[in-house]
Amino acid sequence: MNAILLIDFGSTYTKLTAVDIDNEEIVCNSKALTTVESDIMVGFENAFKIMKEKCKDKDIEFNDMLACSSAAGGLKMVAIGLVPDLTAEAAKRAALGAGSRILGVYSHQLTLREIRDILHKKPDIILLAGGTDGGERDCIIHNAKMIAMNLKDVPVVVAGNKNTSDEIEEIFEKQGVYYRIVENVMPKINLINVEPARDAIRDIFMKKIVEAKGMSNAEKFINGILMPTPAAVLNAAKILADGTDKEEGIGDLVVVDIGGATTDIHSIAEGAPTKAGIMLTGLQEPYVKRTVEGDLGMRVSAESLSQAVPTRKIMKFAPNLKYDVAERCHYLAQNVNEVPHNYDEQEFDEAISMAATDIAMERHVGAIEDVYTPMGKIFAQKGKDLTDVKYLIGTGGILVFCENPEKILKAGLFNEENPKYLKPVSPKLLIDKNYTLSVMGLMAVKYPDKAIRILKKNLFNLQ
């Protein structure tokens, strides 16, 4: 059969998925440990051998190979802007939406101390913003100079006040900084414009970062490592919601991805107020929004989860819990490969995953605030109103492998006890049972119509 090989060079495992291109089915998958320290292709070859063995009866011929990667720490970035709640925040959202890990967000003029901090963190790419178009100039120019003098080996995406482009170009050319200048992430107050910056980040990832992480051997073999893995999941969510050239999308949706180290929420929705008389305030949020909660995870971040979430909240999800929460979370954080062996251990995992879903969703969605005025009570909304979202999709080990994923996803729904958080009220619940989101997001770059059809076939409706 004609097939496409989709590769995910993960931080721990290199995962392969074979897709029958004509019948639009996933036919095989395999995995092996990622070997980025030596030669990334060793891990790939191991996984490939396993796949060939598993599917030797299927007569697979690969016409194309595409890859995404979160190996070698993934795409690490630093975001720099002017005012913390405005351009610094817009830059952070642009970087998150490109699938990166944010190491730090900086505001106002950079100090030498902050420069040392950034040097220490070793980001792969810097996103530099500041000033609306035609607005403040001094800050971004100062920061460009600081970067050129002290961080000139780090590629920079410049997405700030367009009126400073000429000067910044001159500063960077002089010091040999690798840079791309794109549209402002916040061209006008509160108006966000993250897509140009995201495209530039992805471009630099493909051109420079892949090579820098010792993965150019892989590139020779495959048709390019196209994106950081988180960007693939986001891409899948986006095409599923919006549709493609030939296929209909399913409408506004939210994806919950509960992992060992983080819980990620992706929402594809405008998030406009759903009820009359609500004032929208604050910085506009991106249509495609990704948040990453690095303190909420099933293993690596289990301990920080136990610190972020009060025990009484976890007990609400599992009233008969047998374990001491802090103790067990500490244990799990030290034993990241632990799988539950019995009902009690499974119950514990489910309880903390429900807590992770609840809190991560709360941090992601918008909120309504009561404002008391002489004219009566008014409601002001900050962030996205996701109450009317049509689909809530779950992915990640715990959701894929547990018997009752519905219960976990429901922990992320609108809650009368905390009505100010605009969480989804009654979406259809779907599970990514076959781990298709990231590979289809990758495949969609070249084969969008097929990818969305395969996605629709593989998302299991829980109701």
Binding site: V83, D85, L86, T87, G131, G135, E136, P374, A380
Partner: protein, 136 residues
């Protein structure tokens, strides 16, 4: 290049019509207006002024509680690196009928450069702004 000004209605006040009129008038007069709208806090004005490199902040208050909403703004501007920014206030700045001169003085003491009584036309504010920015 056009001069940037930030315009908005301060505090828990959502009177919007005058705000729209001022937006239109100042834009027609050649200013680059960043209208942050109603229900704006002091921080909203300041953040917008910083990002847009504004020369002036024009504050409207219609519900009578403007004085308390505006208190401390000049100091915050100084803290935020906007030491020399022009601060204008207008609308219905106090509750009930009071003599204008003491009201004007209280606002000027708070650091406002120009203070306008109810019923002032936009043209007056525009003329004053052009003068203060040496544009006339």
């Amino acid at each position: 290049m056009k001069k940037n000004v930030v315009l908005g209605v301060i505090g828990a006040d959502c009177h919007a019509v005058g705000n729209k009129i001022l937006d239109y008038a100042f834009t027609q007069a050649g200013f680059e207006v960043t209208n942050i709208g109603v229900l704006s806090s002091q921080e909203d004005f300041i953040n917008a002024a910083i990002e847009t490199g504004a020369s002036a902040i024009l504050i409207s208050s219609l519900y009578g509680h403007g004085e308390i909403d505006c208190r401390g703004l000049r100091e915050k501007c100084e803290e935020s690196g906007l030491k020399n920014i022009l601060l204008y206030a207008g609308g219905n700045l106090v509750v009930g009928k009071q003599d204008w001169e003491p009201v004007e003085k209280r606002f000027k003491d708070m650091g406002f450069n120009r203070v306008y009584a109810p019923g002032t036309s936009p043209e007056m504010g525009i003329k004053d702004l052009k003068q203060d920015l040496s544009l006339l």
